[in-house]
């Protein structure tokens, strides 16, 4: 079978919509205001929400009803897809076919679990390590990859996809999420914004201002801090002296919750609760997802310079996939054969995306100038003409 790029994107979106609209849409009608986690788990006491532990044991009473084994299977497959994409990108980067990029390895549950808890019309405002959350929410995967390949087309999601492009300046994007969700609130729409950022980002002044504005204006914003323990080489312990990042919410008058970010169930359940709070006008929530960046910071980094292999090994045991496989095995879904088949199928999909990526042309000289303003200025026109002249001469 050969699918074209656009067909592929369509399939992705449909696949995504299928899960969303058959399950989530229904569930969100059932009022999820049970309030089981937020304001119940005290970050000052380091209480962490965990439903599925590293060994694959789950707390049955806390498993959200909508996370049926079938749904979990789909989410597992989604997660696994992004891990494979990641691995492929790395391979391509090593052979010069991809630019520097930030790996997601280890953070799949934090993203897929939280994204699954919101609606298609909700916004995602990412940092730069959110391939799973962004693409699950409809950002075309080929575009995401093109961005890291160094092609501006990579920052142009389709009109109906409410996902901002990658934001590189650390900590800056949460303010946009606050503004976006505030605008929705002003128009009395029921959409919310979910913003992702890292542990390092919490040190930036912009984080503080975003949290503070959200608190004062009770904006419908869910802040998801993926605490992957490092900001490049800087460990979490050197980033801030507070015991948890979740407790930082106390400074802004709204709740913070510590969650096992490698637990798909916990991430879904808490985000869902936070999203419904936001939607109901109860204001923002800060979620600290405890996770780990299993890979280097980016492909230009070498993590062995600053952390011990034992530490990585310890966290490998907490990998979100291991526990999910155990869970799905118990549910009679996962086994080695299933896994082999899955990988085979997904490999085809990865191949297809990469073909689409590699056949996408770079931006043209015109493109460099044409999008700065709604209407190009006279001097940009002249500069464009100059560039074209030079390029012609240089040939």
């Amino acid at each position: 079978m050969k699918i074209k790029k656009y067909e592929f994107i369509l399939i992705c979106i449909l696949w995504h919509k299928y899960i969303k609209f058959t399950i989530v849409a229904k569930c969100s009608e059932i009022l999820y205001s049970l309030n089981m986690f937020i304001n119940k788990f005290d970050p000052l006491k380091k209480q962490m929400v965990q439903i599925l532990d590293a060994d694959g044991n789950h707390k049955e009473d806390l498993v959200p009803a909508e996370l049926t084994p079938e749904v979990v299977k789909k989410l597992y497959e989604q997660m696994f897809f992004y891990r494979m994409v990641d691995a492929r990108m790395l391979k391509m980067q090593r052979s010069g076919r991809m630019g520097t990029f930030a790996s997601i390895e280890g953070q799949e549950a934090a993203q897929i679990g939280s994204e699954f808890a919101i609606q298609k019309t909700d916004w995602i405002v990412p940092a730069f390590r959110e391939i799973a959350a962004m693409c699950a929410h409809g950002y075309p995967l080929d575009k995401y990859i093109l961005y890291w390949r160094g092609n501006e087309i990579g920052s142009t999601p389709p009109k109906d996809v409410n996902v901002l492009p990658v934001s590189v300046p650390v900590g800056s994007q949460m303010l946009h999420a606050v503004g976006i969700s505030w605008a929705s609130k002003m128009r009395a729409e029921k959409t919310i914004a979910l913003s992702y950022f890292g542990d390092g980002a919490t040190s930036e002044g912009d984080f503080h201002e975003a949290m503070n504005f959200a608190g004062v204006y009770k904006t419908p914003t869910v802040f998801i801090c993926q605490n992957n323990q490092y900001a490049i080489s800087t460990p979490r312990s050197k980033q801030t002296a507070s015991d948890t990042l979740a407790q930082k919410a106390l400074a802004y008058g709204f709740p913070g919750v510590l969650v096992d970010g490698n637990d798909l169930f916990a991430m879904y359940a808490v985000t869902k609760e936070a999203a419904e709070r936001a939607r109901n006008g109860e204001g923002p929530t800060l979620i600290e997802a405890q996770t780990y960046r299993l890979a280097d910071h980016t492909t230009s980094d070498d993590a062995t310079k600053y952390r011990e292999q034992e530490e990585v090994d310890e966290w490998r045991k907490k990998d979100p996939f291991i526990r999910l496989q155990k869970y799905l095995y118990k549910k009679g879904i996962w086994n080695k054969k299933y896994q082999a088949k899955l990988e085979e199928d997904l490999t085809v999909r990865v191949d297809e995306v990469m073909t689409a990526v590699e056949s996408t042309p770079d931006q043209t000289p015109d493109d460099i100038f044409d999008y700065h303003y709604a209407e190009i200025t006279q001097s940009l026109k002249e500069q464009k003409a100059y560039l074209k002249y030079i390029l012609k001469q240089q040939k």
Binding site: W123, V125, E152, I153, S155, T156, P157, P158, K159, L164, P165, S167, P169, S172, L175, H176, A177, V178, G179, I180, S181, W182, A183, S184, M186, R187, A193, G205, D206, E209, A210, N212, F213, V216, D367, Y371, H372, Y373, A374, T377, Q378, S379, L380
Partner: protein, 326 residues
């Protein structure tokens, strides 16, 4: 509709109200702009007319104001935010440079940031330390931004309406020394002064004085003096610093053959340098004399008691005119 005689503070207020009335997505926020109506009273009465939903006080955080406005603009609103004094804008500069200025280009127009950042700038009212900065060149050097500076109540209204309707982020710098210094007839109805276009505000034939904001008045005074010596000055009000209106600049200088650029900001790497370089590059062989600059010094603005030492004025412009005409 009738014309009113208004100060710049009033004409800006009028522009805000008119746009807020016709476009429900226009909202106004910033430090103390709500109940108090802003420290210069530019937003006086706006909260009362439009309610707290559309005109409100922000926490004391410039990056927060600009950063949330970017988000709002992306999601369908038209925020017109106030930075209390341009000297504090740099707290928000990173948001402006990294995001507001770039979102359209990077997303190829999928996301746009139609917002206005208003701020009083410049000296001349004996304000406190850090309250008299003129840093327009810094913003003008930032690709993706537009920088507009009015010099009269009439222009302020027309340019602000244009800024609010502009589909891209506009930095709107208000010469605070002119806030209440001049009154002018301002029509009640809408009008629109295009961004990116300079205007010849006085015709002349011997030399062109190129300026903007508060310096237009100084140029005008200098030209009155110069006239006594038989020198006829054309005055070009840039109105927009970026994108700079090359055509108007070159047209007037082609005509007069001489030019002086005047601004309050420090001399080195200021907007005057760009205007000067531009003219020389294009009209080197037409020029009768090199373009001179009359500017602030490369110093920190002095405190109130001696700020007059700093500020360029009609006398300094006149001296430069004499030099160029020699």
């Amino acid at each position: 509709m009738a014309n009113q005689t208004l100060t710049m503070v009033q004409s800006i207020n009028l522009a805000l109200r008119r746009e807020m009335r016709s476009d429900p997505s226009v909202i106004v926020y910033g430090q103390d702009v709500g109940v108090e109506g802003g420290v210069f009273r530019v937003t006086e009465g706006i909260q009362k007319e439009f309610g707290e939903q559309r005109c409100f006080d922000a926490p004391l955080a410039e990056a927060g104001i600009v950063g949330t406005a970017i988000g709002m603009a992306i999601n369908g609103m038209k925020p017109v935010v106030e930075i209390q004094f341009s000297g504090f804008f740099f707290e928000a500069f990173s948001q402006m440079l990294c995001h507001a200025a770039r979102m359209r280009n990077r997303s190829r127009g999928r996301f746009t940031v139609p917002m206005v950042v208003r701020m009083p700038y410049g000296g001349g009212i004996k304000a406190l330390e850090h309250h008299s900065e003129s840093m327009e060149a810094i913003m003008a050097h930032t690709p993706g931004l537009k920088v507009v500076i009015p010099s009269t109540p009439f222009d302020a209204k027309g340019l602000l309406i244009a800024a609010i309707r502009d589909p891209d982020p506009v930095i709107f710098m208000e010469p605070k020394r002119l806030y209440r210094a001049i009154k002018q007839e301002v029509p009640e109805e809408d009008y629109f002064i295009p961004i990116g276009k300079a205007a010849v505000v006085q015709e002349g034939k011997d030399i062109t004085l190129i300026a903007y904001g508060s310096m237009i008045r100084e140029c005008w005074q200098a030209s009155q003096e110069a006239k006594k010596n038989g020198i006829s000055c054309e005055i070009l009000d840039l109105r927009t610093i970026s994108p700079l209106d090359h055509e108007s600049i070159l047209t007037t200088v082609k005509k007069t053959g001489r030019a002086i650029v005047v601004h309050e900001a420090p001399r080195s790497f200021g907007a005057g340098a760009e205007v000067s370089a531009l003219i020389h590059e294009n009209l080197f062989h037409t020029l009768k004399s090199p373009v001179l600059r009359v500017t602030g010094f490369d110093t920190i603005m002095p405190l109130p008691r001696t700020e007059n030492y700093y500020n360029p004025n009609a006398f300094r412009v006149l001296k430069a005119i004499e030099l160029v005409m020699k």
